[in-house]
């Protein structure tokens, strides 16, 4: 390899394998999320698998990915959106009668809703999967990638926390 070009990430073998594997891993994670209401699995487990795929990409290709556009989007926007979605489901149940009520199941599912065989549980699993996947990836970034973030006068470096209580 050319000496002037500093290699980023791991060797070519790892990078190639990662390029092949990242799709199946993410797909498997999504599968786990979407069948969580019928079989073992669910939002948390699936979210962890998805996060692991992104961690693998970061390890193989270096920190550029994590700090790039996709990484930022994943870590900051999706994280909040997942939690927001979960609370929204709870609040929709509240509007429909009771906080956290399983409002889809109750209302005698019309054809488009028949796919949600466990009512809101599937939707909640998707929300939790988003939240867990994004925040675990973000925890990884914060612990492993970002070393020192000194602002002008070292004013602040935020530590993002994960919210407990899902699942």
């Amino acid at each position: 390899m050319d000496k002037s070009e500093k290699p980023v990430g791991m060797t070519l073998i790892v990078q190639t394998v990662t390029r092949w594997l990242k799709g199946p891993i993410i797909l498997y994670g999504i599968y786990i999320v979407f069948t969580g209401h019928l079989s073992p699995g669910g939002g948390f487990a699936g979210g962890v698998i998805i996060a692991c795929a992104f961690v693998l990409i970061t390890l193989a290709f270096g920190a550029k990915f994590a700090l790039g556009r996709v990484g930022k989007l994943l870590a900051s926007e999706l994280d909040s959106l997942g939690a927001l979605m979960f609370v929204t489901i709870a609040l929709l149940g509240y509007v429909g009668g009771s906080f956290f009520r399983n409002f889809i199941q109750m209302a005698n599912p019309a054809p488009p809703f028949r796919i949600f065989s466990a009512g809101t549980i599937l939707l909640s699993n998707v929300a939790i999967g988003l939240k867990v996947g994004a925040s675990l990836f973000m925890i990884f970034i914060i612990l492993a990638v970002i070393r020192v973030v000194e602002d002008k006068d070292g004013k602040m470096k935020m530590i993002q926390k994960k919210q407990g209580g899902d699942n």
Binding site: L143, K161, G164, G165
Partner: protein, 115 residues
Amino acid sequence: MAFTLCFVLFMVGLYGVLSKKNMVKIVMGLVIMNCAVNLFLIMLGYKKGGVAPILEKKTNLADFLARSVDPLPQALVLTSIVIGLGVLALTIGICIRLYEKYGTFDITEIRRLKG
């Protein structure tokens, strides 16, 4: 017997938290304690030769009630593990920042606050 082992594990964790000087070892102590409590909780619902607590249409209800393990502690442990994960991530984050600032993991040398 198993409960005694849980208790021993808990005490090992407590010992680690109370007597170690290295921050990472303290965090490990906390994790061990948390694991001990989780184990204790999950064992509360355990039955010897029990079946998974999933009710199907053809299941005999009386037999199911006699043999199925208690599902509630499993849900509790899952929640507790998630919470533990959040706390652990935050703790490790703070440890890393402390190491960046002070250059040591020894808590006896991290002593700016006093009084």
